[in-house]
């Protein structure tokens, strides 16, 4: 178990080393959120209508962008070999890195979302469900994304390939995430979509680390 804590601590340290770093994930989220009104036009009723979806899609893309390098740097500089020989089970290594990724991108996203939502005129009743859905959904995104990131190790243009592999798996999270926000806005029951999100999280938690571990061992061959 100690390997888990050590790797988690190191990844957090690497991420926080330069103070600007967790900022940049929010930075992307913020900028991408801001792009939509340009594309779509400033009418506030249309923006309010699509705000939940836009926030979710950009959160998803921000998470995806930062995922690409989760294992790639360790792979390219030989650290992955050292981790695989650490005596810690590989799925635990994976879990440590996923938790670190979520802590440095998922949590900032959750903090930034209510700050950015007003620019999209999100109705007040949408905030609670949005935050709950992000809190339940972003860890799932990190877990699923890790599988993809491990699979594309060593491939050229890993980034775009990763999107292709992972986005289809992200769609269910997106659907229920926006459904929760939608339910909040239209005064419908918010619990069912949130329960589904929780279920997906549990499913991803039990399966993704093992799938990722297999992919990592193969990448090292």
């Amino acid at each position: 178990m100690s390997g888990f804590g050590v790797i988690l601590a190191r990844d957090l340290k690497l991420a926080l080393r330069q103070s600007g770093d967790s900022l940049t994930a929010i930075g992307f989220f913020a900028i991408a959120t801001v792009l939509f009104p340009f594309g779509v036009g400033p009418e506030s009723e249309i923006l309010a209508r699509i705000s939940g979806g836009v926030l979710w899609v950009t959160a998803l893309l921000a998470s995806l962008l930062s995922l690409e390098r989760v294992f790639a740097t360790d792979f390219e500089d030989g650290t992955l070999d050292q981790l695989l020989l650490s005596g810690t089970p590989v799925s635990l290594i994976v879990l440590a890195k996923v938790v670190a990724h979520w802590a440095t991108t998922g949590i900032p996203l959750i903090i930034a979302a209510p700050i950015l939502a007003p620019t999209l005129h999100l109705p007040a009743s949408g905030y609670g469900p949005l935050l709950a859905a992000l809190a339940l959904g972003t860890p799932t995104l990190s877990l699923i994304g890790a599988v993809g990131a491990a699979l594309v190790l060593g491939a050229r243009r890993g980034g775009v390939l990763l999107s292709l592999l992972v986005l289809p798996l992200y769609v269910p999270v997106l659907i229920f995430g926006t459904a929760a926000v939608e339910a909040g806005i239209t005064d419908m029951a918010v619990r069912p979509p949130l329960l589904v999100l929780a279920g997906m999280f549990v499913l991803a938690l039990t399966m993704a680390p093992f799938a990722t571990a297999v992919a990592l061992r193969q990448a090292a061959q």
């Binding site: 050590v6 340290k13 500089d77 030989g78 650290t79 981790l83 020989l85 061959q221």
Partner: protein, 224 residues
Amino acid sequence: MGAEGFEQATFSGTGLACRRGGRTVFADLAFNLENGGALVLRGANGSGKTTLLRLMAGLSVPTAGQLAWNGTDAFDDPDAHGARTRFVGHLDGLKPSMTAAENLAFAAQLWGDGTAARVGGALEAFGLGRLAELPVRVLSAGQRHRLALARLMVVPAPLWLLDEPGNALDDDSQRALARVIADHRARGGMIVVAAHGAAPMSDGMTLDVSSFAAAIPPHWSDAA
């Protein structure tokens, strides 16, 4: 440190073969190591030294043959085999944005009890004491390689696998490396080294990996 010593152990391989991209790199290779033993892998570029070392570490899987630790299959428990192995390869496995000391401390915590007590000694052994607080990114090629080698010392492990450890080292560091290896073997550690030119120890068995490429049965050669 010298007092502890490693438990009695053997590490051996039999009938090892490895195929890469349809070509058999080597076949029917065998070796045997005991406490304090050293094995020097020799052979031309591309003969399979790196391939063999990664196989011994359990990082890749042989096409045929077994690896045994104390007589039982080394891959029954890959995590246990990993824990008793230290591997220094062509890539250094260092984080450019962490300092030299932090890189070693991470290794110490990962493999050991987390006390990181030996970090200072490991740095000194390779003349890196004054660079401890520099980020690895600014180190020179030889300084980085020495740091990767210093990682061998932070937590003792019985089996060292070193891929051309002498590359990029200046003369002082070559001597430091030879000293560190001698200490390790004196405590009963085993070591496998791939080398061109001078090996960092005077005794030890030599295995010419090139010679196992020839042992390919006829039907292999058309796959080449």
